[in-house]
Amino acid sequence: MSKLVVTSIGPASSVQDGGRPGSQRYGLTPSGAMDRLSLAAANTLVGNEPFAAAVEIGPFGATFTARGGAVRVGLAGASRNAEIGGRPVAFDSSATLADGETLNLGFARGGSFSYLAIEHGIEGEPMFGSLAVNARAGLGSPYPRPLQSGDELKTKAASGAAERRIELPAATDAPIRIVFGPQGDEFTAENKQLFLNSEWKISATSDRMGYRLEGAVIKHRDGHNIVSDGTVNGSIQVPGNGQPIVLMPDRGTSGGYPKIATVITADLGRFAQTSAGRPFRFKAVTMAEAQAEAIKFHALLHSLPDRLRGIDDFGLNIEALRDANVAGQAVSAVDVSTWQVALP
């Protein structure tokens, strides 16, 4: 029996998978990964089902040590400086920790969440078919709470399969696309335009339940109290202070503030990765466009196994080096201590 021991980890890090939809009528929050494409990419790298449970790692650094045998991992999502026993490891690729070796991950760059998938998956007891942590409801396995140092993620010994990298579409800074509704008509045309024309930032008080937006004050046509109705991932509700909150996978299943718009499915993961304080904008699309994008996103998820490639012979990742060198300091390919850590 191999295991990956969490030797250090920051907040907002937990085991997540595809979540537990199906019981929202009883108030059960679906939870699941903030960035489903990155979860699926990490899992695909090590031959797992796309929405198997993996470690969702928040913005801060983390270290993991293999015990009881080798452990093979896949890394995707927000990239970080990564090394195993002094060997640099690239994101969007797999790597193997020999028994006793430690994977060191730096701060997240250009995003908030990274995904560490473990070959053969994480052992746990599914609750409503999912290991995803929902700390408020006491759900999740092997631990019904965010990860802490000392936690153990049990798995089977590494297969020894050749390492892989995965080619994903290039990152984009394009506006986050929304469709207006369900309560778009609770807002005047001027306020909807203000919502689209404003530059927004995500507040540092955001979490897996919701992202609070800072920017313009959006006014309601008549009052901010509506009768509670159902919510979805990406619902943009506007409370009395006019500062919108975008509901994320740990959202309440119902809410009593008017929802001006909804983030489209294809952009939910990209939105979740928006770092606190970084300016961004929204763009309205039609339902037909949003559904066409949802179908394309679905096809992208299914194409992931076809996007696997072999790792280059040298094991030298130019992109990781270039990322590490953004501050202009000298960076050694072999000396991890020279890598710049981008503080959030």
């Binding site: 939809p21 199906g22 019981s23 929202q24 009528r25 009883y26 108030g27 059960l28 929050t29 609750m127 408020r136 409801a137 006491g138 759900l139 469709v179 207006f180 509704g181 369900p182 309560q183 509506i226 009768v227 509670s228 109705d229 159902g230 919510t231 979805v232 990406g234 619902s235 309440g252 299943t253 119902s254 929802k259 909804t262 983030v263 489209i264 499915t265 339902m287 949003a290 559904q291 994008e293 949802a294 179908i295 679905h298």
Partner: protein
């Protein structure tokens, strides 16, 4: 009497869900139509629907846009809504024990003062109510009940509490509710029930369904303590009195 029912509004909730809205206010007739549409969809499924979530005034329908478009699903939902009879069909009725006041219902005295009456009067009126589960939401098992005596209608607290105890029975606005887990609340806490509306390893995990009828029985704190232990061990405690 045979006035045709007005069709619900179809509101887009992103590219993968439709809110089928029957009313903009809390309205028992609208809630019955929500639950009727929910039953019809369960009986005659529409390919592509992944989950339905009934609330007071609307049914949220989650679907897979790879399988069905907004327009095609909207049409089918309107057709189903037009033929869904908002009648009671085999409604289950539960009797649920509550201990009122004291440490279990810390707002009882204040509610009595605010409504210019005695705590006994508040308890008598609340316990006499004939309620229906209008929706379950917010956190697992949090059951919102319609049918609160008008005398007990009271605005929510100005300062919501960050933590209220598991099993709390409270009133807020024109509603009353039973929460299962400890959590934040802006409602007035009248008492507690030992009944777990949600318990992970019990069958069924969720005791109440939207549409179920509920009445309360006042019990003393000693009975509460005994029943609380039994409930923790997996007993329902809630009594199914009909059908």
């Amino acid at each position: 009497m045979a006035e045709p029912l007005s069709p619900p509004r179809l509101l887009p909730s992103g590219d993968s869900a439709i809110t089928v809205e029957f009313s903009r206010t809390i309205d028992d007739a609208a809630n019955r139509r929500v639950l009727a549409l929910d039953r019809v969809i369960a009986a005659e499924p529409i390919a592509g629907i992944t989950e339905t979530v009934p609330t007071y005034r609307s049914l949220l329908v989650h679907y897979d846009p790879v399988q069905i478009t907004f327009d095609a699903l909207g049409e089918q939902l309107l057709a189903r809504a037009a033929k869904a009879p908002p009648t009671e069909g085999g409604t289950r009725r539960w009797r649920i024990p509550i201990t009122y006041g004291g440490e279990h219902g810390i707002d009882l005295e204040d509610v009595a003062k605010a409504l210019q009456t005695t705590p006994d009067e508040i308890v008598a009126r609340h316990a006499a109510g004939d309620y229906r589960v209008a929706m379950i939401g917010f956190t697992p098992g949090w059951s919102y009940l319609s049918g609160l005596d008008k005398f007990l209608h009271l605005p929510r607290r100005k300062e919501p509490r960050l933590v209220t105890p598991a099993g709390t029975v409270s009133i807020g606005g024109i509603q009353t509710g039973v929460q299962c887990l400890a959590g934040p609340s802006g409602w007035h806490l009248l008492g507690r029930t030992p009944v777990r509306t949600y318990q992970l390893h019990r069958d069924p995990t969720f005791l109440l369904e939207p549409g179920d009828a509920v009445s309360f029985t006042a019990v003393d704190a000693k009975t509460f303590a005994e029943q609380d232990r039994a409930a923790e061990a997996g007993e329902f405690i809630a009594e199914l009195v009909a059908p």
